[in-house]
Point group: C2
Chain length 164, copies 2
DNA sequence: TATTGCAGGTGATGATTCGGGCCACGTTTC
DNA sequence: GAAACGTGGCCCGAATCATCACCTGCAATA
């Protein structure tokens, strides 16, 4: 058994073992598991950062700038990543018929397949968590989290997006 | 009001608007706020990644390897960062008297001051959240999260650390 | 009315910074 | 010697900034 004084010797400071760290560790673990399962399914060309695209792209057409806003990266970074993902065959970048400056980013068939696998995989990971912490507890956690995030004005909530 | 079909056009896939994303967005927002407040207090030489050190270092002496484990990076990466943070004056790196291979990483006075500011800042950020989502709700969220994380065997929990 | 001419949006490119991993190496300990 | 600790060098991925080119819509003007 440790005394309080001893404990203070160890983890004394604000950045450890609190809300921030819990969020961070859980989030990182989630990402690791998803990436690992993608590898298992043969997606060895997908890197974790690519979720910035696939998490923000549905079946409609979206522009580079819009994707960048959703993923909270610069338009340049998103453009570069999209170019690579196009090369890998997961998205197409066609010139927008209405506005020739812009490009329509769409999932290809291969991309849709990947997205569907992502759905399954996230469900699997969630099930792994549910097994450990209990389904009810996990549901409660997600409810708490959604409630909190809804009340913060984080301005990149999926509900507000409109594709074409 | 949107139809289900329309909704599916937008955010159809697994990586969006679920537990993973909620954790991620909340965590990122937390980090942004902390870094911003550090800047306000004049710590313009501290970058977000440095939390890997300050979140895992108390008042005791710790080795590079141990810090690397706690922060989940390689000891090379940690060593590089510690060298920089030493140059900035926040930690000292003295040769361990007992084992001449190893180095004792300690917070300097300046480092302790920073750590104390970190405590205040994280409290401030938490208060900002509490104001938006309600103190009770935030407490409940943290409790849910801690309960979940405790039950996962994430093997980098502060409780198990022992400094000297 | 028809034309011209910008302002501002959209995207590509290059240079740079930063974080971090891997390999190899020297040193110390056991 | 073998294993542990830390360092140096090299490379890659990610992300930014600054800049350039281009398209479009709109307004001022001849």
């Amino acid at each position: 058994m440790q005394s309080t004084a001893q404990r203070n010797q160890h983890v004394a400071f604000g950045l450890s073992n609190n809300l921030a760290r819990l969020l961070r560790e859980f989030s990182r673990d989630f990402e690791r598991r998803i990436h690992s399962k993608l590898l298992q399914r043969g997606y060895d060309d997908i890197r974790p950062s690519h979720s910035a695209v696939f998490a923000n792209l549905g079946l409609g057409a979206v522009r580079v700038t819009e994707l960048a806003v959703r993923a909270q990266v610069t338009q340049q970074a998103m453009g570069k990543m999209l170019k690579e993902i196009e090369r890998l065959g997961y998205v197409s970048r066609d010139i927008d018929s209405g506005d020739k400056r812009a490009k329509e980013i769409r999932l290809t068939e291969k991309g849709i397949q990947l997205a569907e696998d992502c759905i399954q995989i996230t469900a699997e990971v969630r099930a792994e968590y549910a097994q450990r912490v209990g389904a009810a507890e996990l549901d409660q956690l997600e409810a708490c989290l959604r409630n909190a995030v809804d009340k913060l004005d984080l301005d990149y909530l999926p509900e507000s997006w409109t594709d074409r």
